[in-house]
Subunit: 738 residues, 2 copies
């Protein structure tokens, strides 16, 4: 009985909201103690309770929970801010009766209480930065029981429901929620091309016009659907317009301080023109990336062709692996170098807010990703196949490099004239990237880290035991080994603290990496799937696993992400649109070049490719794509997503109530001023007419007043009007008179 | 002395806000009188004073002015609505202290008082519609003196200032203001290409690469600049987001009534999918227009070529005018038919709001305009020049048609083999459309109506006099001529009423026609100006006049427009973008085809045009255009227009004040709860430790509470933490120990 209670309590993480990882390894003890004291005082002042426990040898764990009263007040403040920024429609109820809506909001608000600057009502603790550089981590704890329950449930169903997505959002915040919603929508949308692609493959084979058209149309519809879905979700999750609330980057270096004319406050500014000049560096960077990666890929490619199709010397069966090994070694290295350059460039651009910084970095990284992912296939399709017969003879230079190692006889036995283009090369490459590479990616991203992590823990455990023993044995060889390695935790907290220590060591989860993976995958579908119509089927199966494995990954291999709000998948949305556009060009070109009607020449190259026809096909395909996209966009804009309609309805009701109350106030006020509208006309007696005349002759009044006083009240006007009408021989009267 | 006062008063229109034109010609007298009475009662109930005067034979003039109190209340209501829709930042001050900001707002609000449905606080009078079909007009009166003053001022300066634009907006409302602001921006932007184009023309002649590139870039920058300018103006004029307030179309026919789930109200709906199906009719319509107009234009074109370049029979000097006459007669007729079809289609689409209706109609009309404006030049450039030698021989069919009229000898004297392409044809055509047609357009649009109007008035005057005389002469031949033709107006109102009667007869001004004219003009610049780089210079001169003549036109030839708010030039903005895009294609193609390097063949046709090269040039040009446009858009988005910054500053201040007051309220409340943060630690005496042990052993508390009670207050936590830190042999300590 007691154990189950304890298990539950552990499941609820002993009501811990956040764990602060406090490292003191780098600073001297007195300073570390002073810092710790400051940290705890600051937290207490912000209304947060603390408990301190030992972390590892050089760190402490500070457990934090928020007091109910202060939390509610922070929630209220956060909602008022939302209301002022137009994210919420209604003004929030007073602080006393407010509650965080869900775990996500609770954690987000507490995170703000800890990290926001003091002038915005937070404690101003900035992990890894400035005076708080000892604070190396700030993380909520995983809710393991729920995670396990969900993993089990999801493995038994195909689609996640809206409620499942809501739950993810409640646990991990909107940004992770948006990723899973995207993945789920994408997965659901893949059903159609998977089935259709399979049919086309079965009936028509590759390079079918029908499949290409349908695939392109599907891409447009999916991207536009997702745009609507984003609006829908942001209404459902009440984050619409949340990107308006920008968070200032801590690393932003203002060039000068100016007094804002509008607000009268001092404000650090960095001229936009100067930033733009710096951003121009992106152009050489993109060129550099293209050349750097392009040269590596093209060279490996050339070597591969040379070895596989020209070379027939010794060791061929081993040599064929050289290009693959080179590629696997060089491309990731080069990518890493380029990504670090991109990050430096991005830092140099000195963005003012986190949002613009992230989006600028995403763009730069996407350029690198685009090249590494698609260039190999593009080279095969648009360089190797049409121009191989011109290029291959030049590959002889490789012969020179191997001449020192092999006998002349072998080297010359290779003969260019026998060279034949491998007609399946393109398809095989597409299959490699859309099936093999996906499986390898899954293994590298989910399984390998999991095994590594467990191995590392085992190793540490083993080490600790060994040290403990050697300590007992009086071994003096390792004086720096701490004697407290076997932490003297209270017995009932042992399990819990062990788990927390493990979680603290995990890396932070970045949702953008997973989104990138999906966008690149979408790119293969848009750009190259006409080559092998089974691509969507492969992705459909892959993504069923991906969705579960990503959740598993977040739960097991990463710290629990701090909930972040967002109303879009951000720059990746543009990327999807861009890829689908490029797809309209490449698909058309592939179709024209490799469609069955083209005769293959003696070398296996398509002979009757005509430049003008290829360009014409591309021109038409691209513009057809743009027109259809415009039409689909227009149509989609007309269909209002259900949650957006609901939100609009609420807004409308709120406005109506307000306006009605205004009108009512007027009506009450209006009862007293009936003097204007008197239904009883003043009699048009002789005396009244005389008075009129008197008024008219009174030249003292100004002409406008004389004009307006000629008829008193609407009844008199009506009489005068009736007089004029009756005086006119209208058509009806004229007829009667005749 | 008295006359000047009167003149001033006349200038101020005797404080009349609106004139309602009430026609009773079509209904019988009793009904007309009842209707009039109802109208006047309704107006009086809405807080409007009335005066009735005679209009012409079958109409009355009802003069309306708003009482100050009711007007202020309506202004308040309008501002509250704006505030609820997020158009204004601050909640408006109470109704008693509010004043209309300018004449534009005053007239707009009074217009709403008259026309808005009763449930929204108006009088519900809907001119020309339903029960109010006798009300045939609702117009404010021109402020002639100010108009004259401005016309005089503007004729003496080159650029209008921001204040001039503000004044236009104050008089005629934001929609006219936006048109003039656009015209002014466009005019100012034209300086650069005018100068640059002149230099290029002087130094390089036509078809210069430099000019084409600069022109294209200029187009991009101008369109993007205008987008920013629109935001700036809408902030300056406080109309940002005004398009969110949609006005329901009166003609909208709901298919069924449903209860809105969100608001609980009955609401007429028309399914969006059904509307979309109806909108698909646009495709056959566009094809029909293209074919209809295309056939007419191409035929006239062919006849022209035949007569001018092949035919050498008799009457040639007269026959050359045939195609021009045919074109001038047929194209406007066909256009008119197509526009009426477009209007019917648009009605059939059953749009819910005025905004969507207008924008859909604009799109349809633009298709027609595009064809009539640009097709002739496109035909010359891309059909006549490259394919003339294939087509011209087929023009012999015209010979058959003229055979009956001329002798055989003459007819056969024309010889196809001698045919030579006129190399200047394209340039001459561009000159015609960009100079001659602009002048003719100006005359047709401004001068001719003015003369016509005056002539008509003279004629009426003359007629009236004659009738008056014949009346006096006792002529009984015209019994339906009214005896009151010489209106018995009060002497001092004579001039004023005459002017009002004239204004009532004027047509309504539609800003969209003028905007269309400018967009079409921009199209010539974007699409064809490489042919003749003086195009921008011609437009620059033309637009100086255009700006003044349009103002003159609005003042003299149209009713004063009722102020309408808007925050954009609407669908025309997309049109500008579209034209500049198409320009990137046509410019590149023209450049490649007619650039000096191309040899002319024996027939005068360019010989070495290669299909693939042309398409490649187009492909590169278009994508270069798109990339540059993306870059310019990104750059422009970073630069915040001054008024937008100001508006953001105001919004920020408003939020800050509110949040600060929230924080202050909390701080006041917070003074009492210092119990959490006690600086004095409870002494760690023996008894305290014993108490700790007791607490820990108390298994009745749940584990979470036990966890959180282990350390009391932050000071105890700090002590525990310090203990752990000191126990660790940190690097520093380890070194000291050594």
């Amino acid at each position: 009985m007691a154990t189950t209670t304890e298990a539950n309590a552990l499941g609820y993480n002993l009501k811990v909201d956040y764990v602060i990882h406090y490292s003191f390894g780098d600073s001297d003890q007195a300073q570390a103690i002073a810092q710790l004291e400051k940290l705890l005082r600051t937290l207490a002042n912000a209304g947060l309770e603390c408990e301190v426990r030992q972390g590892d040898e050089t760190s402490l764990l500070v457990f934090v929970r928020a007091s109910k009263k202060r939390l509610n007040r922070a929630v209220y403040r956060s909602r008022v801010r939302d209301w002022l920024y137009g994210i919420r429609n209604a003004e929030p109820e007073p602080a006393s009766s407010i509650e965080p809506q869900n775990e996500g909001e609770r954690l987000r608000v507490i995170n703000h209480m800890i990290t926001l600057p003091t002038e915005e009502g937070g404690a101003g603790i900035t992990p890894n930065h400035g005076e708080w550089k000892n604070v190396t981590g700030l993380l909520p704890l995983h809710d393991e029981e729920t995670n396990k329950k969900w993993l089990h449930e999801w493995s038994q169903k195909t689609f996640l429901s809206e409620e499942d997505l809501d739950q993810i959002r409640d646990k991990f915040g909107e940004s992770v929620g948006f990723y899973f919603a995207f993945l789920q929508s994408y997965f659901r949308f893949l059903i159609f091309p998977a089935v259709f692609g399979f049919s086309c493959w079965f009936l028509l084979g590759g390079y079918s016009v029908v499949y290409t058209l349908v695939n392109s149309l599907w891409g447009i519809v999916f991207v536009e659907y997702w745009k609507r879905k984003e609006v829908d979700l942001s209404c459902r999750w009440q984050t619409k317009g949340v990107s308006a609330v920008e968070t200032k980057r801590r690393e932003f270096k203002p060039e000068k301080e100016i007094r804002d004319e509008g607000t009268g406050e001092m404000r650090g500014v960095f001229p936009a023109t100067k930033r733009m000049q710096r951003q121009l560096l992106q152009i050489p960077f993109a060129l550099l990336s293209a050349i750097g990666l392009g040269v590596i890929i093209a060279t490996c490619f050339a070597i591969e062709i040379f070895i596989a199709e020209l070379y027939s010397g010794p060791l061929k069966s081993y040599l064929v692996f050289i290009p693959t090994i080179l590629l696997s070694a060089l491309v990731p290295t080069m990518s890493a170098v380029l990504v670090s350059v991109a990050t430096k460039l991005n830092d140099y651009e000195n963005h003012e807010t986190d949002e613009t910084y992230d989006s600028a970095l995403t763009q730069k990284v996407f350029v690198i990703n685009f090249i590494t992912s698609y260039l190999p296939i593009l080279l095969t399709a648009f360089v190797y196949v049409p121009f191989a017969s011109h290029i291959v003879p030049h590959l002889d230079i490789f012969r020179l490099t191997i001449r020192p190692f092999v006998s002349d006889e072998h080297a010359t036995s290779a003969d260019c004239s026998h060279f034949k283009i491998d007609p399946h090369r393109l398809r095989n490459q597409v299959i490699y990237f859309t099936v093999t590479a996906q499986i390898v990616g899954f293994a590298m991203e989910t399984i390998v880290p999991y095994i590594k992590q467990h191995a590392l823990r085992e190793y540490k455990e083993y080490n600790k035991k060994k040290n403990g023993k050697s300590e007992n044995n009086g071994d003096k060889d390792s004086p720096e080994r701490s004697p407290i390695m076997t932490y003297d935790d209270p017995l009932e907290e042992k399990e819990f603290l062990k788990r927390v220590r493990n979680e603290v060591e995990l890396p932070e989860y970045k949702v953008t990496d997973d989104l990138r993976e999906m966008c690149i995958q979408f790119g293969y579908l848009a750009l190259f799937s006409p080559t092998w119509p089974l691509v969507p089927l492969s992705f459909f199966i892959n993504n069923w696993i991906e969705l579960r494995s990503d959740f598993f990954k977040i739960c097991m291999e990463f710290r629990r992400p701090t909930p972040l709000r967002c109303d879009t998948i951000g720059p990746w949305l543009d990327t999807l649109g861009f890829l689908s556009w490029v797809g309209s060009i490449t698909s058309a070109a592939l179709l024209y070049m490799f469609c069955g009607d083209n005769q293959l020449g003696p070398n296996g190259e398509p002979t009757d490719i005509k430049g003008w026809a290829l360009l014409l096909v591309i021109f038409f395909s691209e513009h057809l794509y743009l027109i259809i996209r415009y039409a689909v966009q227009t149509a989609m804009n007309r269909l209002e997503p259900p949650n957006a309609r609901k939100e609009r309805g609420e807004r409308y009701l709120m406005r109506k109530r307000y306006l009605e109350s205004t009108l009512k106030a007027e009506a009450n006020e209006g009862t007293e001023k009936e003097d204007l509208v008197s239904e009883v006309p003043p009699e048009l007696t002789r005396s009244a007419l005389e008075e009129d005349a008197r008024r008219n002759s009174g030249h003292s009044a100004d002409p406008a007043e004389r004009f307006w006083m000629r008829q008193r009240g609407w009844t008199e006007s009506a009489k005068v009007g009736a007089g004029i009408i009756q005086a006119q021989p209208t058509k009806g009267n004229a007829k009667k008179q005749q």
